[in-house]
Symmetry: C2
Subunit: 389 residues, 2 copies
Amino acid sequence: MTAAGITGPAGFSAGATTAGIKPSGKPDMALVVNNGPRYEAAAVFTRNRVVASPVKLSRKAVADGQLAAIVFNSGNANACNGPQGDADASALVAEVAHSLALPEGKIAACSTGLIGEPLPMEKALAGAGAVAKALGGSTDHAHAAAEAILTTDTVTKEAAYVGAGWSVGAMGKGVGMMAPSLATMLVCLTTDAAASAAALQSTLDKAVSQTFNTLDVDGSTSTNDTVILMASGASGVSPSQEERETAVLAVCSDIADQLQADAEGVTKRVKITVEGTVTDYQALNAARTLGRDNLFKCAMFGSDPNWGRVLAAVGMADAEMDPENISVYFNGQPVCRASTGVPGAREVDLSGTDIDVYVDLGTGGTGSAFVRTTDLSHAYVEINSAYSS
Amino acid sequence: MTAAGITGPAGFSAGATTAGIKPSGKPDMALVVNNGPRYEAAAVFTRNRVVASPVKLSRKAVADGQLAAIVFNSGNANACNGPQGDADASALVAEVAHSLALPEGKIAACSTGLIGEPLPMEKALAGAGAVAKALGGSTDHAHAAAEAILTTDTVTKEAAYVGAGWSVGAMGKGVGMMAPSLATMLVCLTTDAAASAAALQSTLDKAVSQTFNTLDVDGSTSTNDTVILMASGASGVSPSQEERETAVLAVCSDIADQLQADAEGVTKRVKITVEGTVTDYQALNAARTLGRDNLFKCAMFGSDPNWGRVLAAVGMADAEMDPENISVYFNGQPVCRASTGVPGAREVDLSGTDIDVYVDLGTGGTGSAFVRTTDLSHAYVEINSAYSS
């Protein structure tokens, strides 16, 4: 990665350490600190009703639109640990607050890893103290943090956008709930732009809906998914709404692409576009239904232009359609028109890594949406059937 | 199979032939004929909006509650073939009507196989003529029909219920849309009981909702799924509603068990029961959501008692729950209480073929439901990623 990552924008420092939470002995704790002068923040959390203790804590911390730091750990999700989990998340944040002389209520926490195992607090507290002493603003510090949040990811994910006198940086890991009980997508964005918390939240919501929310590897949603944006205002620049939205979307899109490319067991990156519905929402429903269909995903793994599975899958979607007037294109080539096969459809070449699927549901409406997904491979089954213990 | 199958009840004859529709040269056409004296019938079809030509034809044929025969072919679904597909289904039924001197409108058609390939009509018409001349009421005739409707099934599925002077017989194939583009669950039930078409329909609806509709191998729903019950009245017995419901439920349940056991790539049979919701419908939603979660299904393949995935999956279900009060049992052993792990949970033995999963969503409500599903194995990926062509 050449991107400057989360320390690119002025006013941020980061650090990482190996606390011993991961049995592998790899780095497993990170800290990102906003040194101001401003502390506006915005966040998006998992829609799952079963949420991890750090998600509950972070929701409260960011409720007033201000954050000073985020503490991360990998190797343990601190989810489904009952009141003990909540207490552990609070204790971890208290340790960071103490070490950095920051108000406890202004620190968020993000955890990723196995669900249902208590956080090893002796190690975590020692790690929090150690990482607080190892903070810095270099690119190396950003890289170290990006590495310490990984679970089954095979590469770090960082991104940057450089505006006129200001910038946005980001790091991320995982995607959806793709991992072998090592849950979670975590994304941290930093910017030295000045903006109100409300403006940051609407910018983040918009970007997330077009990027992470269109990424659907296996239909699962983690108990820990978190995207946080912190703004230091250190550049002294207040970009226009349009500039801000462009920048945050660009960085989220870059991280989303990296997440898709590193998804568990992926051999194909599949983009599904659905049009010809009455509303965009219906198009999204149909795209998601297809993206989650195991038979379709297995066909993609086999480079099989089996368009019949596309029709069978979208036929079950919560979307208006004309069942006799559905069109399908693979990699730009028509394979089905008026719900009937086009000659030569079975010879379309899907052997490449990227597959483009276009479906028109034939109502004549202007609804449109896309999702990005992956194939269903032997490696996915292998990774996700391994013992959790 | 020792069950007498569809020719067990008086008044039915059956036959099968090899028409050459399947490239493998295995039997691929069957005919089941109701010889009366009565012709009441009931049917349940796929909920998919994209439906095969034989489904459209059969819906019309059974609309008045009367059927005299069903013609089956395997190796080709006759789905997504446009107006030509509809014409081909009609021509096939016309050929059967001509051969048997039956009214065309009283014959249903069931097809299963590849979607989007025109039915090879010369072979199909010759096959229909041949099988019409080879009908008989023996157990061998029933077995031959049960064999001719198979696609990727590895064994025939037949069942029987014997009442006091009357009986029910059945054959089936597939399950949901489990096959490599060789779609479809088809089930044919016969009975010599006398009953009105409305009584048969309500009996069938009730049995289907408790059996085939609780079976969910991969969440996919075929374009061709069909369950038909024909009643000849030849026994002269009119069983009570309770007896009739008991008999049809028993036979459907038996066939559903056989379908689950022969599902593609299955190594585990998983029964998921959900309770503690406000309504049964919510419990069913939660059970289905869990049964379709690939991470959970991979864990089952790996005999991994990873209860965290159960919570993460049900947390996304369209059901009221108390996220802090969810309980999970694997094979009768508690692994999670109050949404927190029970000591020893990771040591629960799931190495057997049958796994029982029980989830209480903790609202205190009396809602309850179950689904039967399977694991997600390498063999599933292998079978479903093979080329369709």
